[in-house]
Amino acid sequence: MTSETPAIRLTGLTKTFGAVNAVDNLDLDIAEGEFFSMLGPSGSGKTTVLRLIAGFEMPTSGTVELLGQDVTSRAPFDRDVNTVFQDYALFPHMTVLENVAYGLRVRGIAKNERLERATAALEAVALGTFGPRKPSQLSGGQRQRVALARATVVEPKVLLLDEPLGALDLKLREQMQVELKELQRSLGITFIFVTHDQEEALTLSDRIAVFNNGRIEQLGTPAEIYEAPMSPFVASFVGTSNIFDADEAKGMLGRDGVCSIRPEKITLHAPGGKVVTDTVALAGRVTEVIYLGTSMRILVDVDGGKRLTVLEQNAGTASPLDRRGEVVSVRFSPSDLVDLEPAMA
């Protein structure tokens, strides 16, 4: 086994449900020790890919390789991957400790050793004293951590996480994101993380695959995905984008092809001021100001009938409502414009 052997290699992977291509001829390498996210709207195929890797579904065609070994036709219990389920899937009739020890028990590991290892795994997720409780006596965040301990105690090569933070409230989710990242670093194993939350994917991942209609729309680091989206879909799904279609780009910006700009790259100025060279300036009128705490989202209708979203840091100067109807000059640097390939039909 060389270091170039990917942890997971998917080749020509296709899964059809009836007439629907849930996963469409997918090729993907995921490196060892990588925190890899599959991001996409519901129905984009990301969860199906995860289930194909875990072995809960059999592909219609294509192969799944784990560390260079073809595991396509192997049952889930014969694969060195483990899953953290969206609903946690803790066994309700077992205690927390029995849940965590389950994977060791079915491997025939002696009672003393498995209790020791399960206790250590529970301590690693700060639930050392919760062993004798039943899952129903735990909060959502605690169940989440038990599910993590249960999946990692058997030392898988790859850990699959199916929207594990979806059911948690915001504060807990942010805390769990930090814990997940730390856990991944300390274990040094590959994490494959499925989410529809673009912020979560950007925060956690080494690389992100953006899924749409059973295909990977774009694959790259969080910075690449955010700064250089390659299609209107990625530009609008990951973060907010102002997308100019071909006609608008031609008429308003004098450019060819579809392009987009992020709201935080745009600034608002009083009309008539001096425009720095190499800056796009469009005249417009503020139609709505949305207060977000740390920032303001300002909607501006520019001449030519396009509505742009602008993000301004909250400097605490003007009252938001005062600005509605204000005539402004919308400015940004052309270098911040990102060219988007036209979406594949």
Binding site: F77, A89, F91, Y102, V106, V154
Partner: protein
């Protein structure tokens, strides 16, 4: 707002939850009390009376004779053992047959096939009890379909007797065992089965360590049906049981031919006592907590 009588009553009821509950429950409780408790009490009381052997009239003099006869008579002991044995076997057979059927229905079949199977399981319940038992009588008869099926494999038809009774009762009560187990399996999320497999458990291990423990309440519920219905049955054994008698037959002959209602009542107390013990054991396992 005008204080009409209806409004006054509504306001009163909305403020007095206990009165509301009492009014709601009074009718069904009255019915239950009259039909069920009163009938049971009458049975209990009758068991302590006796029959004038000359006139055949029930005499309301208190005696423990019937109870003592039933508990010490070797006939009654033998029949009780036989009945409990039949009921236990029927229950075990039904559980063994119902588990894979219910599992297939709940976890393997497509939604369409699932609906068809539920109807197929329920269908026999719409047919008359007697029709089904006589169907088995003809199937088990000499030259019947059972003999025709097993003879090529060197087997013989059980004919009429206790095995035939057990087979027929198992068939009769099977839907009552399948349905609670099916409902119980529906409540076991698929993700639990996947999680077990994901953690390295093979199919049999998942069944033993995850599915069966979660199904206990449903299995016990089903077994209460098959066990209690078997304890009380006397028609099936009459039709396919040959000369064998179960407790129900003793009750029946004492009410009818022997005209000894107090003795019949005393015999009828046996299955009631057994069911109380059975429910007590079921309760001990904790299976009734989640019903």
């Amino acid at each position: 707002m005008k204080a009409t009588p209806a409004r006054t009553i509504s306001v009163f009821l909305s403020q007095h939850a206990r009165v509301r509950l009492a009014l709601l429950l009074s009718a069904p409780l009255f019915w239950l009390g009259l039909v069920y408790i009163a009938a049971l009490a009458a049975l209990l009381v009758t068991a302590f009376w006796t029959v004038d052997s000359f006139t055949g009239q029930v005499q309301t003099t208190w005696t423990l004779d019937n109870i003592i006869t039933v508990f010490t008579g070797s006939l009654y002991q033998a029949v009780t053992l036989r009945t409990v044995g039949v009921a236990l076997l029927v229950t075990i057979i039904d559980i063994i047959v119902a588990l894979p059927i219910a599992f297939f229905m709940a976890k393997v079949a497509s939604p369409r096939l699932q609906r068809i199977l539920v109807i197929a399981v329920l269908m026999p319940l719409w047919a008359s009890y007697l029709v089904k038992v006589y169907a088995w009588r003809s199937a088990l008869s000499q030259g019947g379909i059972v003999e025709w099926l097993v003879t090529p494999f060197g087997g013989t038809s059980p004919g009429y007797g206790l095995p035939a009774t057990i087979i027929t009762l198992s068939y009769l009560w099977l839907p009552y065992v399948i349905l609670p187990i099916y409902a119980g399996l529906e409540r076991v999320p698929n993700s639990l089965l996947e999680a077990s497999s994901d953690l390295g458990a093979k199919t049999w291990r998942t069944m033993r360590s995850v599915v069966l423990p979660m199904l206990w309440p449903a299995i016990i519920a089903g077994s209460i049906f098959s066990f209690s219905l078997s304890l009380g049955d006397y028609i099936t054994v009459n039709i396919v049981g040959g000369a064998n008698q179960l407790l129900g037959n003793l009750v029946f002959t004492n009410v009818g031919a022997a005209n000894n209602l107090p003795l019949a009542a005393a015999i009828a107390l046996i299955p009631i006592g057994i069911m109380i013990v059975y429910l007590g054991v079921a309760r001990r396992t904790g299976a009734l907590n989640s019903l």
